[in-house]
């Protein structure tokens, strides 16, 4: 089974944060330009994460998603600020193929079940922000790692699977932004414990980190932001590297 490589666009107030000016991109901060670029250059999926702090501009976000998905002919996952079924349905009808739910799922597990029943498991992605609290133990955090929930990541992952989640986007808060690589123990633990795909996230600084997440972490997909955005590596660089190391990927 081919492993997936997923570039992640962090979008704030409708603009890609830390976007790089690829050749041929008129406006690197425009998420639709970035999505089109990645869609045409080998990304297996694209993740669009809205990190706008305020919740007042949901409609603006929908317009941005609509525009971003317009030239995106690979699957697009959209997350950030999803609170209820209406938010999910609005995102899906704006061109998202999957919706990633984070805090809302922690606060109200019914949203996972209802999303799966109404829109299908295949578009219900549960984002888990995990923070290490002791050796082999991780806790679910929300609000970008600020709020602790007291929930154990392993139990929570199994719980959302049971409720109908189709995929888990697993981010290590300890590694996110550090460029030190994924938390491989965490990734492996969750990948081995659930029967739905796990996307490794948080900490990629080089191509070997992608390999480790897929090989040692046993993830189904590897997500990364800055290594692609800053032009250090292209998606094809990543795939050629993984292929040379024996990881099956779409080239």
């Amino acid at each position: 089974m081919l492993k997936r490589i997923i570039p992640c666009l962090d979008v704030k107030n409708g603009r890609v944060v830390k976007g790089i000016n690829f050749i041929n991109l008129v406006d690197a901060g425009d998420p639709s330009e970035q999505a089109k670029f990645y869609s045409e250059n080998g990304a297996d999926e694209i993740c669009f994460l809205d990190i706008t702090a305020s919740n007042e501009n949901r409609n603006t976000i929908l317009d941005v998603v609509k525009k971003t998905s317009e030239q995106c002919f690979v699957p697009l996952t959209v997350g950030g600020g999803v609170r209820n079924l209406k938010d999910i349905s609005n995102l899906l009808s704006s061109g998202a193929d999957k919706v990633s739910i984070n805090t809302a799922a922690v606060n109200n597990k019914n949203i996972v079940k209802e999303s799966a029943e109404n829109f299908g498991s295949q578009c219900t992605v549960i984002a888990i922000d995990a923070k290490k609290i002791s050796e082999n133990k991780w806790e679910v955090f929300t609000h970008g790692g600020r709020n602790s929930t007291g929930k154990d990541v392993l139990n929570y992952a199994k719980e959302v699977e049971e409720l109908g989640a189709g995929e888990i986007l697993l981010t290590s808060m300890d590694r996110d932004g550090t460029k030190k690589g994924y938390d491989l123990k965490l990734t492996e633990l969750i990948s081995n414990s659930v029967n739905i795909p796990v996307i490794a996230s948080g900490g990629v600084g080089n191509l070997e980190h992608l390999y480790d997440g897929l090989k040692k972490g046993k993830a189904s997909a590897a997500l990364a932001a800055s290594i692609f955005h800053f032009g250090e590596f292209s998606i094809q660089d990543a795939k050629k590297y993984l292929d040379s190391k024996g990881i099956p990927v779409r080239i």
Binding site: R4, F73, S89, S121, C123, N195, P197, S220, R250
Partner: protein, 214 residues
């Protein structure tokens, strides 16, 4: 220019499909109106989500009969993902649910193989294995354009199991099983993967369907 219809099944991926079709033909109408559907030259039948729920929506919109008429009138009908599954007699998703019965067979849960550690829903890119036994005068051009090297994006937990294996155009390998990926009967064709989300190759497939003269 041919009139292209996308049947509004109330599911969510219609926008993506419309945009993909519009790359090749701008005369695209998304509708649930029976008369408009039957006036189309080619029809897409998309669907994502749960079989039972979408079947209920179709019933509510009084489209069951319309789809039967589409088949009778021999208007080329392209089912995508759940759209393909709905062509069949019944699905075991959420208990047995009746489908449209346009192609004989049923819809079953993907097999699991503990050794393979296969994950369900199965999500990702797969190559097709073309069934050399399949013959169709309607779709021969479409089928001949398929290449076993190309990859398409699948996301599903259930698969179609036609009672006539000669209806299978192509399969793909999942956990050691050959799972039907494209199925066709008469003027109906459907694929389990999402051509509208399979990059350039997926768009080519849509274009090849649009080019068919049936």
């Amino acid at each position: 220019m041919e009139k292209i219809i996308i049947i509004n099944t109330g599911s969510s991926n219609i926008l993506s499909l419309k945009r993909a079709v519009e790359k090749f033909n701008h005369n695209v109408t998304v509708t649930e109106d029976s008369k408009t559907i039957l006036s189309g030259d080619k029809i897409f039948f998309p669907g994502v989500g749960a079989f039972k729920k979408v079947m209920e929506t179709i019933e509510k919109k009084k489209l069951i009969e319309t789809l039967g008429q589409v088949k009778e009138k021999k208007i080329p009908l392209f089912g995508i993902c759940l759209g393909l599954q709905l062509f069949f007699d019944e699905s075991e998703e959420f208990g047995p649910s009746k489908g449209l019965g346009l192609i004989g067979g049923n819809v079953k849960k993907l097999p699991t193989d503990p050794k393979e550690k296969s994950k369900i829903p199965n999500m990702g890119w797969f190559k097709l294995n073309i069934n050399k036994q399949f013959t169709s005068k309607n779709f021969s051009k479409f089928v001949n354009s398929l290449n076993e090297k190309d990859l398409y994006y699948f996301v599903h937990s259930y698969f179609v199991n036609p009672s006539e294996k000669t209806n299978i155009v192509a399969t793909y390998n999942f956990a050691g099983y050959e799972i039907p990926a494209i199925v066709s009967k008469d003027t109906l064709i459907g694929c389990q993967f999402h051509p509208e989300k399979s990059g350039k190759k997926g768009l080519e497939l849509i274009s090849n369907f649009l080019k068919l003269a049936i």
